[in-house]
């Protein structure tokens, strides 16, 4: 493992104890060992972090799934129920929206001008609205924290004469 490195040529002296080459060689071995150990420690640290992250991801899922399970229950109740269920479904929707909002989910704003950072244009159509305005939201978009989870799918105005 000890790979010879560039060293100044030093004439060996009689006094072995003070031989700088021996000292330097010993020091070099120590430094290499220290470096290798640090590198190995970093590797092992990285492996541990990767494992922890995986566990964390699973735990995060667990929490979210637990939040959503009541919604599943209520949907099943709705399906078992005969007749008008509009009010029930409305409540379920509110429950799910609130659960997700608690996890940091927010809706992407679609008022006004088209914003490609948070919206995706699926169509561009002539309209009496100003060019570049969002004229219809086909699918809502969502952000989780600062990050766009899914852009809002919109129709954008081409202007009157488009």
């Amino acid at each position: 493992m000890s790979e010879p490195q560039q060293e100044e040529q030093v004439e060996p002296e009689e006094t072995v104890a003070d031989d700088p080459l021996i000292t330097v060689t010993r020091e070099r071995d120590e430094y290499l060992d220290a470096l290798q150990r640090l590198k190995a420690e970093f590797d092992n640290y990285r492996k541990r972090v990767a494992r922890d992250q995986q566990e964390l991801a699973v735990r995060a899922h667990e929490r979210l799934i637990r939040e959503v399970l009541p919604v599943l229950d209520d949907l099943e109740r709705a399906l078992a129920h005969e007749g008008d269920m509009e009010e029930g479904v409305r409540l379920i929707h509110r429950q799910l929206s609130e659960s997700l909002a608690r996890e940091g989910l927010t809706e992407v704003e679609t008022d006004g001008k088209f914003d490609p950072h948070t919206q995706e244009a699926l169509l561009s159509q002539p309209s009496d609205q100003e060019e570049g305005a969002v004229i219809q939201v086909l699918q809502k978009g969502y952000k989780l924290g600062d990050r766009v989870l899914r852009p809002a799918r919109v129709v954008v105005s081409q202007g009157a004469d488009g």
Binding site: R37, A40, P116, A121, L123, S124, R147, V156
Partner: protein, 632 residues
């Protein structure tokens, strides 16, 4: 030291990676994506957008949204007449017959457009890494000519990058799998089915240098075609069932594409998947839902023709390289589409080889580029290419349990120590039995060495502190030492070649651990129950002796009886029996302790001493204890 980044500048998507502590890591972009669409747009209000936002506004601004610029890099206007007709933006002829794209009233060279993509990648990498990035390795298709390579390099310079090397995409993919370390004269086939292009290359490795022997492919075959085949099928099915044509409804189409892609991915691991799209459209009679079931077989049927189109170029590449399929030693897959089992099966059918797996095929080229960057920087020093321990290392503890100190796959050199104690009162010595393996029980693992630490002064069990340390150096030499922290007495053993196992040996030991897993788990349960029972009986007996005078003799004798009963079943090996008797003892003692406290408070005495004895447990030391070695 400034980082070098590896960039896969792709036709549809780009990806970047760098080495962190010698390991390649993909760098996510500012939006959090691991790949970035290779799209640049110039909006009407003068903004420049790169990546996902550019792609999202494409339909509102097709003539000023540039994608697939890679198809024009380094080419003359006269060479690209076919490509020109496909793209909605304007392609002009510039000086010297070069290509210029005409967007937002300005002419741009393809190099400039590519530079905008690279600039975004560079900026996002800097934000992610928290330091400036200047050096880059950029990949290009193996068939790129000099002019195309030069143009790519120029794009890098415009973006402010020092392009330290342009390397071939298939070479990068081979590097990502470490094939350069496999020895000389390797032949490698790289099968790259990307979003919009299909490339197959045959490489030969000699003297650490990859040589491209042949390339072939199809410039207009990729994942997009596969997605479209699924969507077309869904549209046709819906038309047949409901008589409604979804292909005219952009929102429905968007949902179909997403569902199709999801189904495609799911079918890589399952045989059948359900495609559910409620309220896909509405008619005067009410809403319509799409509910289809797609099997893997059906998917393969739908994409059969596309798959067949990969066969010709692959065979041609082999032929041009002058090789038969049997002469190919490695097959590497690139591009997300190669996750599809049918694609993998097709590659195996042609080459007769199982492809390398493990690196994400969307990222493998960028990863290889990052590795090349590290090599050029001298970051990957041989002395720092460290090994891992192939199997766990540890010692035998009470009851024949294997207690690992160093888990398998730990990078060496490393050191780990843990404190153990004695299992019996006045135990004069402990045996350190060093083992290697993955079974919970020592008997199924391999003995590396044994030694004894003697001269432990008489003390109650669990009291002596014996520090056991494992140290493995970079060459795999293991030093195991045991030190009595009370006396400073130390013993050690040196084991050479402990990690120098051949792959066959490692596989065999892993298999053996697997084969004995159930048995080992059962044995372990018995040992745990027994150890737990024994230690409880010991503690309660001790507390009982200390407090005997404060207890009713009937209560005390009940506890004593339970202790006897428990000790009577210890050797039975019946877990349920041991646990039942353990619980019975625990319960008897809880009652006794309650009586004890009641008495204590009645007598207005401080009960701290009793409280302590209740909690008396050897918490300071690990609960894994030594087996009895020498009790005499």
């Amino acid at each position: 030291m400034a980082k070098t980044i590896g960039i896969d500048l792709g036709t549809t998507n780009s990806c970047m990676a760098t080495l962190e502590g010698g390991e390649p890591t993909v760098i996510p972009n500012a939006e959090g994506g691991r790949t970035t669409p290779s799209v640049v747009a110039f909006t009407k209000d003068g903004q420049r957008l790169v990546g996902a936002p550019a792609k999202r506004q494409q339909v509102t601004n097709p003539e000023n949204t540039v994608f697939s610029i890679k198809r024009f890099m380094g080419r003359k206007h006269g060479e690209v007449s076919e490509e020109m007709t496909i793209v909605p933006y304007k392609v002009d002829e510039g000086p010297n017959g070069d290509v210029r794209v005409d967007v937002a009233g300005k002419e741009y060279a393809p190099e400039e457009i590519s530079a905008m993509i690279l600039q975004k990648l560079k900026a996002d990498a800097e934000a992610y890494l928290g330091e400036s990035v200047s050096d880059a390795v950029i990949t290009v298709p193996a068939y790129f000519n000099n002019a195309q390579r030069e143009a790519t390099k120029t794009a890098g310079s415009i973006a402010g990058l020092n392009v330290v090397r342009i390397i071939n995409e298939p070479t990068a993919a081979a590097l990502a799998y470490g094939l350069d370390k496999e020895g000389a004269d390797q032949t490698i086939l790289v099968f790259d089915l990307g979003g919009g292009t299909f490339d197959v290359s045959v490489l030969e490795l000699g003297d650490g240098v990859f040589e491209v022997k042949s390339t072939n492919g199809d410039n207009h075959l990729g994942g997009d075609n596969f997605d479209k085949a699924i969507v077309d099928w869904m549209v046709a099915e819906f038309m047949r069932d409901q008589g409604i044509d979804l292909s005219k409804d952009p929102m429905a189409l968007q949902r179909l594409y997403e569902a199709g892609e999801k189904a495609k991915i799911e079918l890589s691991s399952t045989m059948t998947t359900q495609i559910n799209l409620p309220f896909i459209t509405a008619t005067p009679e009410g809403p319509k839902h799409l509910d289809l079931s797609l099997t893997r077989a059906k998917l393969e049927e739908l994409t059969h023709d596309l798959l067949e189109r990969t066969v010709g170029p692959t065979k041609k590449a082999l032929e041009d390289a002058g090789l038969s399929a049997s002469q190919i030693e490695h097959v590497v897959l690139v591009g997300g589409m190669t996750r599809m089992p049918a694609v993998q099966a097709k590659v195996k059918e042609i080459t007769g080889k199982d492809p390398h797996k493990g690196v994400n095929p969307d990222e493998v080229v960028a990863v290889g580029a990052a590795i090349q960057g590290g090599v050029l920087k001298g970051e990957v020093k041989d002395v720092l290419l460290l090994d891992v321990t192939p199997l766990s290392l540890g010692i035998e503890t009470k009851g024949g349990v294997f207690t690992p100190l160093i888990e398998r796959n730990t990078t060496i050199p490393t050191r780990k120590s843990e404190i153990f104690s004695t299992a019996e009162d006045n135990q004069p010595s402990v045996q350190v039995h060093v083992l290697q393996g993955e079974s919970e029980m020592a008997t199924y693992n391999k003995t590396l060495g044994k030694f004894e630490l003697v001269g432990i002064p008489p003390a109650p069990r669990g009291t002596p502190q014996i520090e056991v340390s494992f140290d493995i150096d970079a060459n795999g030499i293991i030093n195991v030492s045991a030190k009595d922290l009370g006396t400073g007495n130390e013993q050690q053993v040196r084991i050479e070649g402990g990690s120098g196992l051949s792959q066959d040996e490692i596989d065999r030991m892993m298999k053996e651990a697997d084969a004995h897993r159930e048995e080992a788990t059962r044995m372990r349960e018995v040992v745990d129950a027994r150890n737990n029972a024994e230690s409880l009986a010991y503690q309660i007996e001790k507390s009982l002796q200390e407090n005997r005078d404060k207890l009713d003799s009937s209560v005390a004798s009940t506890v004593e009886g339970r202790i006897m009963e428990l000790r009577g079943v210890l050797e039975s090996g019946d877990v349920n029996e041991i646990k039942a008797k353990t619980d019975a003892l625990q319960q008897a003692w809880t009652e006794a302790a309650q009586a004890l406290y009641a008495n204590a408070s009645a007598q207005q005495q401080t009960s701290s001493a009793d409280g302590d004895s209740e909690a008396s447990d050897d918490e300071v030391v690990e609960d894994a204890e030594y087996e009895v070695v020498d009790d005499k």
